[in-house]
Structures are given as C-alpha cells and as structure tokens.
C-alpha cells in the first residue's frame, strides 16, 4: 500500500534529532524529532503542520542539513535523489555538501527578515551564494539573476539596495528569489510568510507556488497556519510533540481527519457562516525533555484509552495515501 520510495526526491527514515545540553551541572535532552519517517515526491509541495515547538522546525532544519550542536542527529537517515544521483545527507563530507547546497538543495529560513548581510548590498549575497554554481562569467551571471528576479515580479534595482532599505515583504521575496536562482531540486521552507501581513502573504505564497510549478521542484513547507496548507500543500503531514501523527493528500486530511489532534486543528479554522464559538484544547504540549509514556497526545485527547497511556501508536495506512498514528483511529472511531 505504501508508495515506493524510489520515486521520492526526499526520503526520511526513523529520524531522531535531540538537543543535548549540559551546563552548570544540569543535563537536558530535548527530543525534538523522535522517530519520524516520510518521503516527498518530485514536483510536490509537502506541507508540515503543527503547533509551536512540535518539532517541525527542527525536522526541516535536519533535512536541510542546517543543524548544529547542541542539536544532533541521534539515529535515522535523510536521503535525496537529485536526477539520477542518490545521496545520504549525513554521509557527505564538507566539500560534497557545499557542492549540493543551493544547487540542488536550498533552504528558506524562519525569520527571513534578517538573512541578508546588513552591511552589503543585495547583489553581493547573490554573488556569494549562487555565482559558483551557475558557472558563467559575471556579466552573464548578473543578467541571469536579473531575469530570474523579473520573472518573480521583482525590480532588478533591488540588487543595489542594502537590506535595511527594503520592506519586510520585499526582503522575503528577495530571499525566495535567492533560494531559487539556481533552480534547486528541493526547497525546504520554514514559515516563510509568518511575519508578513495578510496582503503581502498572499502575493508571496502565489510567488512560491508559481516558482515551484515552473521549476518542477519539490518543497517541504512548514507553517502552523492551516489555511496556508489548504491553499498550497499537495500533501500534508501533521506533527505533534516531535512525532508525525498523520499524513495524507491535503484534501483527504481536511475532509476526513483521522487523528483527534488534526481534527482539532482543522476545526479551529473559521468558516464563513459558522457561528459557534471555538474551543481550545485543554492542557499544554508536553515537555520534550521529559515526554509522557505512550502516545504523547493522550493527556489532551478526547478519545484517550488505557492503551494510549502505555504504548506508542505506530503509523498505519488507512488508505493508499493516508496514514495515521492513533489507536482510536485504527479502531475506526469517528474523529
């Protein structure tokens, strides 16, 4: 039933990434990503949703090789397929990694407001990041960049500006342009529109979708905003407390959410004409340094059973493309 991983551009298996800190005699291990397995196909936007500190940022950082101590990969693997080449991300050495960065794998960071060097013009960031990958002499390179910018509805004059001279939305768009100028196979995007106001957000999202379709790239798009996922993601994965709890085609997940947490997330979206008040979930997300036994959601779950406190539910397929990790879902109880 499970789709094969050989077509996938990104394959994650059994990934565990923890923060391990030891200062002043206090030792803490925060299990930010705990045994996650998923894959992303070609020409697909995979959305990753969940509330704050559920581990989605850590996950996307891990697949973009953007982690540093005290965050470490404890177990599992992350592998990519770029054309005919397969690479295991954490098997590469520094030079090989630098070679695929930006050319095949790029990353749009959370808080893209401040990712450009404040003391240099925008042009120098493009030169630093992309020049060596494109491999053409400078004048030709610059005209490639300008064409790319124009395609994304950006004025080429933006290259002469300093970052602080651009508005937040502008900077975001420049960052997206920067991340896509080499036409990478895979783009990891972490909350690229969260800090923007709704109007700008709409145009930036449209730009992202356009770019992705035009390049045929794959994307992992992280945001807690379910409305954005509804508009953008082809497939959707829901994370809770460091674990992937549900995954499927976006339409499927929205129409028939199988996990009680997903159901809550979707129900919290306002709908036109809907007048009844929204309730928040009782309780708070668990402490990832000291996670509860069994299913991590059991303390807040309306469908919790005894098994939920003891055993960790594994991901199980409930259709060709839809899987969920929940005892209640497997027994067919309504969400």
């Amino acid at each position: 039933m499970a789709p094969t991983g050989t077509q996938a551009v990104l394959t994650v298996e059994g990934l565990r990434a923890y923060y391990q800190v030891n200062t002043y005699g206090i030792e803490r291990e925060v299990r930010a990503v705990d045994d996650v397995s998923l894959h992303v196909n070609a020409n697909e936007i995979y959305g990753l949703a969940g509330e704050s500190s559920c581990g989605k940022t850590t996950l996307v950082k891990t697949i973009a090789a953007a982690i540093r101590p005290p965050l470490r990969v404890i177990a599992g693997s992350v592998s990519y397929r770029f054309g005919d080449r397969r690479v295991g991300l954490y098997d590469l050495d520094g030079k090989e990694l630098a070679e695929i960065r930006w050319k095949h794998l790029s990353y749009i960071m959370q808080g893209s407001m401040s990712v450009l060097n404040p003391l240099r013009r925008v042009r120098s960031s493009f030169v630093d990041f992309a020049f060596r990958h494109i491999g053409k002499p400078m004048p030709e390179f610059l005209s490639i960049v300008e064409t790319h910018l124009k395609r994304l509805h950006l004025e080429p004059s933006v290259l002469d500006a300093y970052p602080h001279e651009l508005s937040g939305g502008m900077r975001q768009r420049v960052t997206i342009a920067l991340a896509t100028v080499c036409r990478p196979d895979f783009i990891a995007a972490d909350e690229p529109t969260t800090a923007l106001d709704v109007v700008v957000q709409k145009s930036v999202l449209a730009m992202i979708r356009e770019t992705q379709r035009a390049m045929g790239a794959s994307m992992m798009f992280v945001t807690h905003d379910m409305a954005v996922h509804a508009n953008l993601s082809d497939r959707l994965g829901i994370m809770y407390a460091g674990r992937l709890v549900e995954e499927g085609l976006t339409g499927e997940v929205f129409r028939r959410p199988a996990h009680p947490y997903t159901a809550h997330l979707i129900a919290s979206l306002p709908r036109i004409g809907d007048t009844h008040s929204r309730e928040g979930l009782a309780g708070a997300p668990p402490n990832l340094a000291d996670p509860p036994t069994g299913c991590r959601f059991h303390s807040r779950c309306p469908l919790a059973m005894d098994a939920c406190k003891r055993d960790v539910p594994e991901m199980a397929w409930i259709s060709d493309t839809h899987r969920v990790a929940c005892f209640a879902a497997k027994t067919g109880a309504p969400a």
Partner: protein, 285 residues
C-alpha cells in the same frame, strides 16, 4: 544572588580560581593586623637582607620587613580600591538606572554627560588635582576624586540592563497586575541588576587600584601611608633594582598582579553567567 555565587563556585573554573587568588590576597592583607612593626616605622630591622628566615620576603633599604610592609600595603590598596568602587557604584547606579528607566530626553541628556566622562582623559585631571592639593592630599580626597570621575563606563552598562528590563514583557505584566514600581524594581528587576553590579564592581576595583599604583609610583599621592604603589615608589627612590634589591619590587608587583587577575576572573565569569544564552541552557533547574 547567593545561589548564583554558589553555582559559579561549583561549576565555573574561572570563578573558583578568582576566589582562590583573592582569598590568598585578603589573607596577606589580614596578616597586617598581626604585624610586629608599625607600618610607618623605618629602620626597625637590618636593611637590604634577601629573603630568609625570619624575614621571609627580605628587608628593604629603609630597614623594614618586606612581608609586613606588604601586608599593610595590600590592605590599604584593597581598602582604597573598595572605597572607590562603593562610592562610584552609587553614582553609576543612580545615573544608569534613571537613564534606563526614564528614557527619552532624560536618558539622552544623561548619556551625553556620561559619554563626556568616558572620553575625558582622567589621568591628567587627577594629576592636576594632586598638584593643587599637594600636602593636603589624603586618601579620602583621592578616593572621592576618582569616584567622582570613574563612574561613567559602568553607568552605561547598568543603563542597558535597565533598558532591556523596562521593555521586557514581564515588566508589563507586573505593572498590569498592580505591582507598585518599587515592588517591581526590588522583586523582579534586582536579580538581573545585581550580577552586572557585581562584575562592574570588580572591574572598577581593578581600575582604581591600577590608577592608584600609577599615581603612587609617580609620587603623586600621600607618601606616608604604605600602599603597593608607595612601596614601588620608595624602591625607585632608593634605586632598588640597580642596587640589586629585587625583592622590594618583585613581591608587591606579584601580589598586586594576583589581585588584578583574581578580580578580573571574577568579573569575567560573572559576565559569562549573565549572558542570556548560557542562562537559557541552565533553565529548568
């Protein structure tokens, strides 16, 4: 605050080293109370003896035992540094806190004045002060003068702590929950302000002792009271090095360098402790 000190002592090697060094220095200073010779007396022992028993650090050309002189010297030097630090703390705290909390024009005016004191070279002014005071120059006067001039750098640091505290969320929450300003200052903000006061005090003591040594060596202070600088001054007057009486200079220098390094280590480790990133890593205790 005590908990902070205890944590530092247990886990921070620099802090522990600083405490060890300073304890040694303070012990030597405390020994002055048991000195068999009064500080001001000269020619009580045979002069120019190299280190040997019973004069473990030797004697100087004025017929004084170097060890006992040193104990007086370091005691006076430490007391001096401490007094200057305390006095200038008052000014630094007032200026820094007022500027940080009041903000706006008050802040700008205070900081302009503050920066003037940072830029102005203090040494010529202190020299001028001595020049005018001459024989009437006493340690109290010098301490007052240095405190009146040396508060600016620390005031700026305290101000930036106050600024960040004022704008932080928990301050707003406290205000909304009806806490009085005085309550907020004492209960919420003081734990953040105290560490920076501590580390600036250490730096200030270093600075004032350094300045005292420099002024004394040049003979610009009261020559009767023994301090570290004074010992070096007298040693120079008697051309100790040329005469080969190296112990007269070496031991005061060694002891004062120990003091400096000790205070410096304390200040540095305290600074590292208050650095927010290390604090975040410590949370959850």
């Amino acid at each position: 605050m005590l908990k902070i000190l205890r944590d530092l002592l247990r886990y921070n090697r620099e802090f522990a080293a600083g405490v060890a060094l300073l304890s040694f220095v303070v012990l030597v200073a405390a020994a002055s109370f048991f000195s068999p010779y009064p500080a001001a007396d000269s020619f009580v022992v045979p002069p120019d003896l190299p280190p040997s028993w019973p004069h473990v650090l030797g004697t100087n050309s004025r017929g004084q035992d170097v060890f006992w002189q040193l104990s007086f010297a370091i005691r006076n030097t430490l007391l001096f540094g401490f007094s200057v630090a305390i006095l200038s703390r008052i000014i630094s705290l007032v200026v820094g806190l007022v500027a940080g909390y009041a903000g706006g024009m008050v802040d700008r005016v205070l900081m302009s004045i503050n920066d003037s004191f940072i830029v102005i070279p203090l040494f010529p002014i202190l020299v001028l002060f001595y020049f005018v005071m001459r024989e009437r120059m006493s340690w109290a006067w010098l301490a007052l003068a240095m405190a009146a001039l040396g508060w600016a750098y620390d005031a700026r640091l305290i101000r930036s702590v106050a600024l960040s505290l004022r704008t932080r969320e928990f301050t707003q929450t406290s205000i909304f929950s009806g806490m009085s300003m005085r309550q907020i200052l004492v209960e919420e903000h003081l734990p953040y302000v105290l560490p920076i006061v501590f580390s600036t005090t250490m730096n200030n003591i270093n600075w004032s002792i350094g300045l005292e040594v420099t002024l004394s060596v040049l003979g610009f202070t009261n020559v009767d009271t023994p301090t570290i600088g004074m010992m070096i001054y007298w040693a120079n007057q008697h051309t100790a090095l040329v005469a080969g009486i190296w112990w007269w200079i070496a031991f005061p220098v060694a002891l004062v360098v120990m003091t400096f390094i000790g205070l410096f280590l304390l200040a540095v480790s305290m600074n590292e402790y208050i650095d927010p990133r290390s604090r975040l890593a410590r949370m959850g205790a």
